[in-house]
């Protein structure tokens, strides 16, 4: 864990609604170091996606500042790739073309067509989607679409990868296999990742740190758990380890005792 990559300083976010101002986030301070995997977890409506959108630059904060690699985040950019919850592949492009669009944008000025195509194919191969490159998104399953979404993000070689409940829409078995896949890809690339999740096991399994958020409105960071489990991790080994149970218990305790949602 080396140098700091993203700094979130005193960030607050308010939205104007019909019923006046709505304070979504307040007093957020967070530092994300290079090569680190950070999960944002909390009950629904706690503003974890709002925080991710702020890091992505899709929205700008009402107060405070976000800094990525020494520069203030003023808008979205390809150095902060986003994997959206519902894959967001363009339905009129094939899986290959969807990834190529991103690759071309990032590397198109420096590299020739062949190199770009090779990059695209490599990214799809990494998520084991090379057999369906020429299919359209509606021709492949939900899990496969999300694989392509992940390939698109990784192919951009971003400084940081932002994932907004990437496996939220998938069934449990597909989710598990994609988590394993993601772990492999993360260890191959050494990527820095911020991931929004509401799945405790997913958070413990995949992250170096778990940022737990208090309930909204006016949500903030409640507690941060350092997950000190060695990489590479294997889900079968982990479930038997007492450390895993310990971290899991810490998160569950926070979510269900300290931040119990009233009448949820």
């Amino acid at each position: 864990m080396s140098k700091s990559l993203v700094k979130v300083e005193d960030v607050g976010q308010t939205f104007d609604t019909k019923n006046g101002k709505f304070v979504a986030l307040r007093d957020i301070n967070l530092e994300i170091r290079e090569g680190e995997v950070v999960s944002l977890i909390g009950h629904s409506g706690c503003g974890k996606s709002t925080l991710l959108n702020l890091i992505a630059g899709l929205t700008l904060p009402s107060s405070g500042a976000l800094i990525c690699d020494g520069r203030e985040i003023a808008g979205p950019g390809p150095e902060r790739a986003v994997v959206f919850q519902n894959h967001s592949l363009l339905p009129w492009l094939t899986c290959f073309e969807n990834v190529y669009l991103a690759v071309e944008r990032v590397f198109g000025q420096k590299e020739g067509k062949d190199k770009l195509k090779a990059r695209t194919a490599e990214a799809l191969k990494m998520v084991r989607m090379d057999h369906a490159m020429d299919k359209y998104p509606h021709e492949v399953s939900g899990g496969m679409k999300q694989r392509v979404g992940i390939a698109r993000a990784f192919a951009m070689e971003p400084k940081i990868l932002l994932m907004d409940e990437p496996f939220g829409a998938l069934d449990a078995l597909t989710r598990a296999s994609l988590q394993d896949e993601l772990m492999r890809v993360m260890s191959e690339t050494g990527a820095t990742v911020v991931m929004v999740t509401h799945d405790v096991d997913e958070a413990v399994l995949l992250s170096d740190r778990i940022v737990m958020m208090t309930n909204g409105p006016a949500a903030t960071i409640g507690q941060i758990v350092d997950v000190d489990l060695p990489w590479p991790r294997d889900r079968l080994d982990l479930v038997e380890k007492p450390e895993f149970a310990h971290y899991r218990a810490a998160v569950v305790d926070f979510l269900h005792r300290k931040q119990l949602k009233k009448a949820a």
């Binding site: 992505a56 899709l58 390809p78 959206f84 492009l93 669009l101 020429d134 359209y136 509606h138």
Partner: protein
């Protein structure tokens, strides 16, 4: 691709659910004789009701022609149609041309008028869809002008162009442009935020946003606009040509009325209906080709 589908098939066959289906299936599959009977039944089902409808129409027409006196019988109309369609492309000067020429020149006017409407309406629709200020500015004007019959614009066309033919095209332009603008603008407004976010994260150039995201996303709406425009244009051209004269199916109807050839008027009604149906079907096909499954 074919290798993949094979793989899927093998997988499917291997699952127990597929096996049970297979076990049940042979009993349920009809024998070849049954199959052809099934086909004939399906054919009859789809053919018989429309035939009944047609027979009813002809029957009522026959009755009306017996009682009504001057309305020609179906048989007489059929006979006239046979002679008419035996030489659809004759030309004896501007006022006496075959029905083929008349239909084609009407279609040409619709094509030109619609083409101009698309050239103006689609870009305008994009602008109105993208910029709130522009749509707030222009929407009241469109709301005011849209309910006006395009024929009310015909005199303006005559005044400006000093000729009947471009004036007719002008009315087509007017009636085609509203659905083009409104549907394109609606399509632009309805581009899913997810796609826009993808464009923002990738930081795509304005050119790429238009060609790779906006245009394909808006295309289905645009095609709806085109379909509505052409439909209205085909309705309006008949009336416009009745007023302006020249060559064209509308003028032809009026001309045959002056000649008191009522059979020909009836034939023209069928021809206009048929061409309209054909245009609609072609555009539906095109629209289907460019509609993407988003899930």
């Amino acid at each position: 691709m074919s290798a993949l589908t094979m793989e899927n098939k093998i997988e499917e066959a291997a699952t127990p659910a597929a096996k049970t289906v297979e076990l049940v299936a042979p009993a349920a599959t009809p024998r070849p004789a049954d199959k052809s009977a099934e086909f004939v039944r399906a054919l009859l089902k789809s053919v018989i009701p429309p035939l009944f409808g047609l027979a009813l129409l002809v029957g009522v027409w026959e009755l009306v022609s017996i009682k009504g006196g001057s309305i020609p019988t179906p048989a007489a109309t059929w006979k006239a149609a046979v002679t008419l369609f035996s030489d659809p492309f004759y030309s004896n000067g501007p006022n006496d041309q075959g029905i083929g020429w008349n239909v084609l020149s009407s279609l040409q006017r619709v094509g030109i008028g619609f083409g101009f409407a698309a050239a103006v309406g689609i870009p305008l629709g994009f602008i109105l869809g993208r910029f709130k200020f522009m749509s707030s500015m222009v929407d009241p004007i469109i709301s005011l002008l849209r309910p006006v019959s395009p024929l009310a614009w015909l005199p303006i066309g005559l005044l400006v162009f000093k000729k009947a033919d471009p004036a007719a095209t002008w009315t087509i332009f007017i009636c085609s442009i509203w659905p083009m603008i409104l549907n394109t603008a609606e399509g632009v407004r309805r581009v899913p935020t997810d796609y826009i976010n993808v464009a923002r994260v990738l930081n795509l150039s304005e050119m790429k946003i238009v060609t790779k995201i906006l245009f394909p996303a808006v295309l289905p709406y645009m095609l709806t606009g085109i379909r509505l425009s052409i439909g209205t244009a085909w309705l309006v051209i008949v009336a416009a040509e009745m007023l302006t004269g020249g060559v064209g199916i509308g003028f032809w109807v009026w001309d045959e009325w002056n000649n008191l050839k009522v059979e020909h008027i009836l034939i023209a009604i069928f021809v206009i209906g048929f061409v309209g149906l054909l245009l609609e079907q072609i555009l539906m096909r095109i629209a289907k080709r460019f509609t993407y499954e988003t899930r």
